[in-house]
């Protein structure tokens, strides 16, 4: 069976969930060969093997942390040349997409980004994508070279599929451009203890109607009662009420959870672009005419400061 390269997104050896989802999709096309780079790369092997990686190629060097993107492209290219895979799959993070794009042009291949599903096809893997703020669904293929495809989080279920996962050292020669962009300092984002926004099963978001940074505690309380991630609309972020890293929408994160709860969010096209593919959508808004109500499975027209705390209390007591 053909091999499929899977680029591993991990933090010091802890494999992030979208990579495990990628392994599920990769197994539809061939045998997954994982590529893990940087500090702790070898520690990824157990989790990757458990989810279907037949091999785990690892490399560590200071360049991966000290310089932007290009060292990782060099390594992925080395893996591509060593394996001659049927496809290269990369998680659709900002960095993942940049790595994938540079690899594609180097190896003379087309690229598809932000796939939400992937199937084997007669002419190579067929990727499903959402277009125009998720109002369209397209099916596309790479028609030249080895398909390079980036896949969004929550596009497939994580499945156990034990495989050998033999660790092999990947030999990487860095290109002249590898040290072009220096990372002079790095400040890790402080953990909130809540799930990662793009990976969460439930997202609770606040918008203009939250009306102040201090009021976001109402949104956070509901999120915590449900074990959810917290999101914010662009209006709330631009007002300085919540960090940009939590922004849902066209210029923030695109989420596709099982349940999305929009509070005080009108539902402008830019916001819908980031949440419209959520499975179940619920909204609380004072304005009965807000466009968000066109999307919802259940909506409450009312004051979020009345409705949301009552909901939080109800959730807590039902769970208790």
């Amino acid at each position: 069976m053909a091999e499929v390269l899977v680029y591993v997104d991990h933090v010091d050896g802890a494999v992030r969930k979208p990579t495990l989802e990628l392994l599920t999709l990769a197994r539809r096309i061939g045998d997954p060969v994982a590529v893990a780079l940087g500090a702790g790369a070898e520690n990824t092997a157990a989790a990757l093997a458990e989810h279907g990686a037949v091999k785990v190629l690892t490399a560590d060097a200071p360049e991966f942390a000290d310089y932007l993107v290009v060292p990782k492209v060099d390594a992925l290219q080395a893996a591509y040349e060593a394996v001659s895979p049927a496809a290269v799959l990369v998680p659709s993070s900002a960095e993942g997409k940049e790595i994938a794009a540079r690899l594609a042009v180097r190896i003379g291949s087309g690229i598809i980004t932000d796939a939400v599903d992937l199937e084997a096809g007669d002419e190579g893997p067929v990727a499903t994508q959402s277009a125009f703020a998720a109002s369209f669904t397209t099916k596309s293929r790479v028609s030249k070279g080895t398909p390079v495809i980036t896949v969004k989080p929550n596009s497939a279920a994580v499945e156990a599929a034990p495989a050998a996962g033999a660790v092999e050292a990947l030999s990487v020669t860095f290109s002249a451009l590898a040290t072009g962009t220096k990372v002079t300092s790095r400040t890790p984002r402080e953990s909130t203890g809540r799930p990662e926004l793009t990976e969460a099963a439930i997202v609770v978001s606040g918008g203009r109607g939250v009306n102040g940074a201090e009021n976001f505690s109402v949104i956070e309380a509901l999120a915590d009662s449900l074990g959810a991630a917290v999101g914010a609309s662009r209006a709330a972020v631009d007002a300085g009420w919540y960090p940009h890293s939590n922004q849902v929408g066209q210029t923030g994160k695109s989420v596709s959870p099982q349940l999305y709860i929009a509070n005080g969010i009108s539902g402008a096209i830019q916001h819908r672009a980031g949440m419209q593919t959520s499975k179940t959508i619920v909204a609380v808004n004072k304005d009965a005419e807000a466009p968000i109500f066109d999307l919802v499975d259940y909506g409450v027209v009312g004051d979020l400061f009345q409705v949301v705390p009552q909901l939080t209390e109800e959730v807590t007591s039902r769970k208790g």
Binding site: A94, A101, T251, P309
Partner: protein, 261 residues
């Protein structure tokens, strides 16, 4: 020496319009009004600020697109860019991102540059990979997705706010930069700016001017193929209730019925 800044911009269908695909599954650019991609306004703004700080700078705004794409160039010129380059050729119809990066790289090289500035993504294709592709093709550093950017003594510095960390980056010019919508509100063109833009030069280039062949670009030259595009079925109308004091409890009841609690 003058700092040569090239800002790459895209003319896109208005996101608030009824966007759809044409019969050949390319983005329909006829039925919906086009405009300068909102995210590229941030790139123009940062170019203007960098030029203000430099002793001597010249901003060229560059686009690849049909005749109407001149509107996007005019908008950027009215914001304050100095001149424009428009790559326009019937054979470009249907070009994918790989092809677009090839055309832009050729046009940037022909124009001459120290710094290329792009927006974080287009609002129609939304891939966000063009700046990285352009850096790869030009063989210069990529300093992308910056929420802060500055240029001093031939070095570009900026802050990239990533998923897990915020990074300070720096690279020597020439380089390719992209900026996010967090980089600073874009200015509105002044009346004076709009009038001045009408007199600013717009150079037109075709594939021949860039030593490119028709089969390297366009729908036929694309390295990806779209097989189908279907409108998502409208979400079925949900239940809407007015809060009469029990709204939170009713919502909880719904979530319980869907097994979320």
């Amino acid at each position: 020496m003058s700092l040569r800044i090239v800002v790459c911009v895209k003319y896109v269908p208005d996101a608030t319009g009824d966007r759809h695909f044409a019969d050949d599954l390319t983005v329909d650019r006829d039925d919906v009004d086009g405009l300068l991609s909102e995210l590229d306004e941030y790139a123009v703004e940062q170019a203007l600020q960098i030029a203000d700080e430099a002793d001597d700078a010249e901003i060229t705004v560059l686009t690849v697109g049909p005749e109407d794409a001149k509107d996007a160039l005019r908008k950027a010129l009215s914001m304050g860019a100095d001149k424009a380059v428009h790559v326009e050729d019937d054979d470009l119809h249907g070009t994918d991102v790989i092809g677009t990066s090839l055309v832009l790289a050729k046009a940037v090289e022909k124009t001459g540059y120290d710094l290329v500035i792009c927006g974080m993504a287009s609002t129609d294709g939304t891939m966000g990979v063009l700046p990285a592709l352009l850096a790869e093709r030009l063989g210069v550093p990529q300093v992308t997705l910056l929420s802060e950017v500055s240029v001093e003594d031939g070095v570009v510095k900026g802050r990239r706010d990533g998923d897990t960390a915020s990074e300070q980056l720096e690279a020597s010019l020439p380089a390719v930069v992209s900026v996010t919508d967090q980089s600073g509100e874009a200015r509105y063109p002044s009346f004076k700016g709009i009038m001045a833009a009408k007199k600013k030069p717009v150079e037109s280039l075709d594939l021949g001017d860039l030593d490119l062949e028709a089969d390297e670009v366009g729908l036929e030259g694309a390295w990806t193929a779209v097989d189908s595009a279907a409108q998502r079925p409208a979400r079925t109308a949900g239940t809407i209730v007015k809060d009469e004091g029990e709204g939170g409890k009713q919502l909880a009841e719904f979530l319980a019925s869907q097994k979320f609690i």
